[in-house]
Symmetry: C2
Subunit: 333 residues, 2 copies
DNA sequence: ACAGGAAATGTAACCTTTTTCAATTAAATC
DNA sequence: GATTTAATTGAAAAAGGTTACATTTCCTGT
């Protein structure tokens, strides 16, 4: 009682050719006589035939689908990357299976596995830390993987980033230049190389250059949400910070607002520079000074790189670093 | 030179059973003797067998994948819905193919077609207007469709919303109550029923109740972006509006900031109420008064509804309206 | 020990394409 | 006009599972 969908068989029969021929015209294979092609095309049109992508995937071992693991679509940083990914994917005729991981290691592995089970042609991973288990899954399957906005010191898989260390160093340099010596650094867990290894290093380097001694009280680990801004700001005050480098925009807004709500003038009494250049940085008052990461492009380039990998094209460099700048807006002098 | 992946055949052979039996244990069919199950499970484990979801999909005609058409992941309103969708999808073992449409009618149709070609078990559509072409595609395929945060006066497919008309009416009521008579209404195109039919109606009703005559100059159509806020605010001033009801948070922030940047005090000189209760409403200063839409829940309920539809369960009501409230924060008195 | 029914397992068709590889047809050469 | 060669087309074998149906095995009760 179903048999409603029409298959390549039906087309072949109607057109009086073999299904191989139908397959050829559908796939644009040139070895088909123009008249036959026309005939088949007409039948396809008349019957409104749509190839079954699943059957296609099974036969050809290609699904034209890539998996995208994202911590949270609701985070503007990641959704901006995702947008870049999807646009390029569409351009290359791929679709995206999007899965939220909440940066939960267990979910990440699980999701990766279902993506692989679904035979995605490639995977784009956004997150912060590549656990060993994840790395093991990556290398076990021969499915290409590209990290977007995510670093893996191991560099086994492709990745697209900016130079987080240098960007953070530049940010701190700027605050130092504005006369600060009690500069806080706030990021997520230092277990994540992007923070503990790159950003923190940049921070330390800048301090060192300025002969400012490193003070543990000024280095905070915090989740990236708006609502913890209050608590973080209290900690900052307690530690005597007069400026801060923040690794996430949403958190930065939280801190900024907490300061404003307490009557602290910004940037006069406190300076702040954030890291992602998401839309948010333009929406606050004062607008937030920020590292300008080319968010969309990171996603786009990552997807482009993945297409090459899936296509087994020769890659010159599978770790690409995109340029960044610093945009001094209203939260710094 | 490929044959690296191991199939159900391999497992069957190793375990000395038929593939049917392997299939049974993989799918949790109870008709398997515990000892056999154990034996098979051991082999699966040893060989690290992972069922090929594509083959499965072809054989069973179920892909456990649903398509999600979203205008733009980067818009917090929609990404919040998407998050609700994905969480419930995951809960029911579905994956999400996400596709951005930019509310472009052509893209919408095209994307829907590739989703159907990929044999998704269901579709969740977010957008604003259901064109006839889209409607035609919806009904042609027997794939269930649910609209999330999107209305279709036609009510042919499932949908999850709030009562936009009433919510807008309430918003205007509140501004009227605060003494305004020159209240602006700003939304996207009135061709979209959600705006032209529901919200605008609510606006008119409220005016009528208050015996305020409708003034065309106070009714604006604008795209939903932050950057047009300036232009929109200028128009509002010109029209002499003293308050506004805005249908999109990002646009509302743009208007709010344009006002603040011009030295207008809010809410003293101008009141504003927005419609989506995205994170943004808490991030501005003053915080934005808003209609509280249960964004996450709209997505979650839509996905839940879709699971029922896909499961051919009996549905009591396929058009569900979720409750909303009005949260008067800093942009209204 | 044996019939009868339930439980467990196996057989083989089917799902819809792609993709060899072989067969046929058309075009080109002399 | 007979061959050769090139261009089209078709037949059938994958691809990796699910599932209806048939068959075998296992218990029970007598």
């Amino acid at each position: 009682m179903d048999r409603q969908t029409i298959t390549i068989y039906d087309v072949a029969r109607e057109a009086g050719v073999s299904m191989a021929t139908v397959s050829r015209v559908v796939n644009g294979n040139p070895n088909v006589k123009p008249t036959t092609r026309k005939k088949v095309l007409d039948v396809i049109d008349r019957l409104d035939y749509r190839p079954n992508a699943v059957a296609r995937g099974l036969a050809s071992k290609k699904t034209t689908t890539v998996g995208v693991i994202i911590p949270d679509v609701t985070n503007l940083y990641f959704s901006s990357l995702a947008r870049g990914i999807d646009d390029i994917a569409t351009m290359y005729k791929y679709n995206i299976i999007l899965a939220n991981s909440d940066e939960n290691e267990q979910k990440e592995v699980q999701v990766l596995n279902t993506l692989l089970a679904k035979q995605v042609d490639g995977v784009i991973f956004m997150g912060n830390k590549i656990t060993d288990e994840l790395r093991a899954e990556f290398s076990r399957s021969r499915t290409p993987v590209v990290l977007a906005g995510t670093v893996d010191p191991d560099e086994q898989v492709g990745s697209v980033n900016i130079d987080y260390e240098a960007a953070t160093e530049d940010s701190v340099d700027m605050l130092v230049g504005n006369g600060h010596s009690k500069i806080a650094f706030i990021s997520e867990s230092h277990d994540e190389p992007i923070n503990g290894q790159y950003r923190l290093n940049g921070y330390k380097k800048a301090l060192e250059k300025a002969s400012i001694s490193y003070n543990d009280d000024l280095v905070l680990q915090s989740e990236y949400t708006y609502k913890v801004g209050e608590a973080v700001f209290e900690q900052l005050k307690k530690a005597g910070a007069t400026a801060a480098v923040v690794s996430d925009d949403e958190l930065a807004v939280g801190i900024l607002n907490a300061a404003l709500d307490r009557g602290v003038s910004i940037p006069e009494d406190f300076e702040l520079i954030t890291s992602n250049n998401s839309k948010l940085t333009a929406m606050t008052r004062p607008q937030m000074s920020t590292v300008v990461q080319p968010l969309y492009d990171i996603g786009a380039v990552a997807m482009r790189l993945l297409t090459k990998l899936m296509n087994k094209e020769e890659i010159d460099e599978k770790t690409v670093k995109l340029p960044y700048t610093i945009d001094a807006k209203g939260t710094t002098k």
